[in-house]
């Protein structure tokens, strides 16, 4: 590698995004307020339940239960999480195919937190020009205090973000007290500090580099793009005219003057570049760094409105639309994604609304697999795992069906009383005289029947009875 040769390492160029106001910025502030409102306040929402904690959303790992308002998710329901992830993935495919990187620009927590950190930066240090000046100025008390205050506020935001995350996993008010009195679980401290660090580094320091270099979604979303996908784009024909963009000068002031001189509508003010959080120039076309945040649209619209030339020099369009061709949203691809998405949502919804109120699983005791009894019969033992997912106690009677003449013995338990949201293991013994020279495995069924609460219905679970080959 000689001097002057190309290097694979590119040093980051500092970006000082300028603030902007407009349609999309307002929408984005709205989404940010909603998302933050939900994220930071949800753990504090109390909820009345017959049994269980009084926190509306609580992921109780110790008790293996997730509480979501009136829904209690048990360990067996964990496949719902897979369903949720599938829906999220399909939704991403669907939306990205139609409207491009909407997730990146409006909803991604990297974007939301970077917005917050930039807001703090702006409030403390001023807008773009002031920040550039401050960075270039020599070390002074003013510089140190402004920079210090920025980082302090960043750190506090990051810390509260991390702490809030841990509040979802324990009783929030108690955990908060424990956290600061030093008696919280180690996992709470580790999680808080880890998320504080990642939030601070990602939203404060790394910013657009996360989207450009680290994020896998950013890369594979481009696969879902096609010529009909909505993208943020610069209207080259209008902006460049016949002879390219041109600054506003005395001779090129009014639109008619400019059109006669062949100058486009773009006055090359650079506002769209200054507001870009990833530091690109949208006029160079669609680029991998673009997160579709639409702030350049707001910037350009502000200028165009003030000039009275009409908006949308930069705007949402599609490749086909920009080329003057008709553009469709509903194509086999988007319809296909839409249908699969609807099917996934419907099946998850069905599964959640039809959560079994009682569960039973049967495990045969395998050590020993069978025992011979003094009267020549064979005994197999089973562990029945019974779970009551309702919020009222239930009495269960254990029965069996399918082995004629077999005896079921559950000791002296007349019925098994199960407290709400509790599970129990019960040992059941089955004794059977084969009598017909049978050997090997025979199938039968355990039934549990709820007493009084007949609306719960009978639950069945298959089991096998093992008969040893040896004859008496």
């Amino acid at each position: 590698m000689g001097a002057g040769s190309q290097t694979l390492y590119e040093k980051r160029v500092s970006i000082y995004p300028r603030s902007v106001q407009g349609r999309f910025r307002t929408i984005k502030w709205g989404i940010l307020a909603l998302a933050y409102g939900v994220y930071f306040l949800l753990p504090w929402l109390r909820w009345e339940r017959n049994v269980g904690p009084d926190q509306a959303v609580l992921f109780d790992i110790g008790a293996r239960k997730f509480y979501l308002f009136d829904l209690v998710v048990h360990a067996q329901d964990l496949f719902w999480l897979a369903g949720l992830l599938m829906i999220a993935a399909l939704l991403l495919f669907f939306v990205t195919g139609i409207a491009g990187r909407v997730f990146c620009g409006y909803f991604c927590f990297q974007t939301l937190w970077t917005d917050l950190f930039m807001l703090i930066e702006r409030l403390v240090q001023g807008d773009r020009v002031a920040r550039i000046r401050l960075d270039k100025s020599p070390l002074s008390l003013n510089k140190v205090s402004r920079k210090g205050l920025t980082h302090l506020l960043w750190f506090m935001s990051a810390f509260w973000t991390g702490l809030t995350f841990t509040l979802y996993w324990e009783n929030a008010p108690q955990l908060l007290i424990d956290w600061f009195s030093g008696t919280a679980p180690f996992a709470a401290y580790a999680t808080t500090l880890f998320l504080t660090a990642t939030t601070y580094v990602m939203a404060g320091l790394a910013r657009e580099q996360v989207c450009t270099y680290m994020c896998p979604y950013a890369r594979f979303q481009s696969v879902m793009f096609d010529a009909d996908t909505r993208i943020v784009a610069y209207d080259v024909g209008r902006g460049e005219g016949a002879n390219g963009r041109h600054k506003v000068t005395r001779d090129l002031k009014r639109q008619e003057q400019r059109q006669q001189a062949g100058a486009g509508d773009c006055i090359d003010c650079g506002y769209c570049v200054q507001v870009c959080p990833t530091g690109i120039d949208i006029r160079n076309g669609l680029q991998v760094q673009c997160i579709s945040c639409a702030l350049c649209i707001d910037a350009c619209d502000t200028i165009m409105k003030s000039l009275g030339w009409g908006e949308s020099l930069i705007g949402y369009t599609s490749e086909k639309q920009a080329a003057g061709q008709p553009s469709r949203i509903w194509k086999p691809k988007t319809v296909g994604y839409g249908l699969v998405l609807l099917a996934a949502i419907a099946s998850l919804g069905w599964s959640v609304s039809h959560q079994a109120p009682l569960e039973m699983s049967v495990v045969q005791v395998r050590q020993p697999l069978f025992v011979r009894l003094s009267d020549g019969r064979v005994q197999n033992s089973y562990e029945l795992h019974l779970e009551n997912k309702t919020d009222r106690p239930v009495n269960l009677v254990i029965m069996m069906r399918g082995l004629s003449g077999a005896e079921l013995d559950v000791g002296r338990l007349q019925s098994v009383s199960l407290q709400p949201q509790r599970s129990l293991r019960v040992l059941a013994r089955v004794r059977w005289q084969s009598g017909h020279g049978l050997k090997g495995s025979r199938s039968f069924v355990f039934n549990i029947v709820p007493q009084q609460r007949s609306e719960l219905g009978m639950i069945s679970s298959p089991a096998t009875f093992y008969l040893p080959g040896l004859e008496y």
Binding site: A3, Q287, V371, R372, G411
Partner: protein
């Protein structure tokens, strides 16, 4: 902004030295993030040495500061010592969340009667889960993990045949006080004919098809002073739980595997072997090794292996 060009990156820096005219050394310093991470690990290590036990000093070691752990040792003494994982474990076993919950159940079971425990699904589930560990630690070495024992040596306690009684009181007594199972050998007492007759009679007790005249002779030996077998096995052959003598009328054999033998002669040979050699088995007592509650848990566990009596 998208065109990032900077002269400082395109040229590789050198240390500025030149040897033999043109031999230069590239200057590629470690990235700052790497360097500062390294410094951070150094600081961490020093703090660690202060807080945790770290350096060997002669026959001892530095104990660390402000890291005392207080726990109750095996003798009930409160001990305070420097941080170590064993003390941490002992403390957790006494004061941890799981330990306290377990203790709560343990106290409940300790106070409950056998009838209460056997009729309560929750206490039964707790008993089974705790006693499974106790059984594995203390009993499984002889009786096997599932309680099926070893033929001739350790009885099967998962079946419904009880030498010393299968009620909870009997089982508790067996575990707490142990047993000495003894049957004298009749080698030299019986002649070959008598031995054969007794064995025939014994097989007949459990429903085997046997020669009736030999059975009659055998019964006479069994139930008279000639053999005296009925002292322990009773005249009906059903055994006495006070003696731990086997019930000969059922299909369970604990010394020789009569069920597995093919043909009546082979079965008879096995029975004769027991009569000739006698039996001596011992189970130790556990009252001074296990607490009363532990014995209680094991009693319920063993009782439930077969359903008890």
């Amino acid at each position: 902004m998208s065109e990032k060009k900077s002269s400082s990156q395109s040229a590789v820096q050198t240390t500025g030295h030149a040897w033999d005219g043109d031999l230069q050394e590239f200057n590629n310093p470690l990235p700052n993030w790497w360097l500062w991470s390294f410094y951070a690990t150094v600081v961490f290590a020093i703090l660690y040495w202060l807080i945790y036990p770290a350096w060997p000093v002669g026959g001892s070691y530095t104990k660390g500061i402000m890291n005392n752990i207080t726990f109750v040792d095996g003798e009930g003494q409160e001990v305070t010592m420097h941080w170590n994982t064993r003390a941490l474990l002992l403390k957790d076993l006494q004061e941890g969340k799981g330990a306290l919950l377990s203790q709560e159940y343990m106290d409940k079971v300790a106070e409950a009667s056998y009838t209460d425990i056997l009729g309560d699904a929750e206490m039964m589930a707790f008993t089974r889960s705790v006693a499974n560990g106790l059984f594995g630690d203390n009993c499984a070495a002889c009786h096997g993990a599932g309680g099926t024992g070893v033929m001739a040596l350790f009885p099967n306690i998962a079946d419904d045949d009880w030498l010393w009684g299968g009620s909870v009181q009997d089982i508790e007594n067996s575990i707490a006080n142990g047993h000495l199972g003894f049957m004298p050998g009749f080698d030299g007492v019986f002649d070959e004919q008598q031995l054969d007759d007794v064995a025939t009679f014994v097989l007949g007790l459990s429903g085997h098809e046997v020669d009736s005249s030999a059975t009659t002779r055998g019964e006479h030996i069994f139930n008279s002073e000639a053999g005296g077998c009925y002292y322990c096995h009773t005249k009906a052959g059903s055994g006495l739980k006070s003696q731990g003598s086997a019930n000969l009328t059922d299909k369970i054999w604990t010394i020789v595997d009569v069920n597995a033998a093919e043909g009546i002669e082979a079965k008879k040979a096995l029975v004769k072997q027991v009569v000739t050699r006698g039996v001596k088995r011992e189970m130790p007592h556990w009252s001074d090794r296990l607490s009363a509650t532990q014995i209680k848990l094991l009693t319920v566990y063993v009782h439930e292996l077969s359903g008890g009596q």
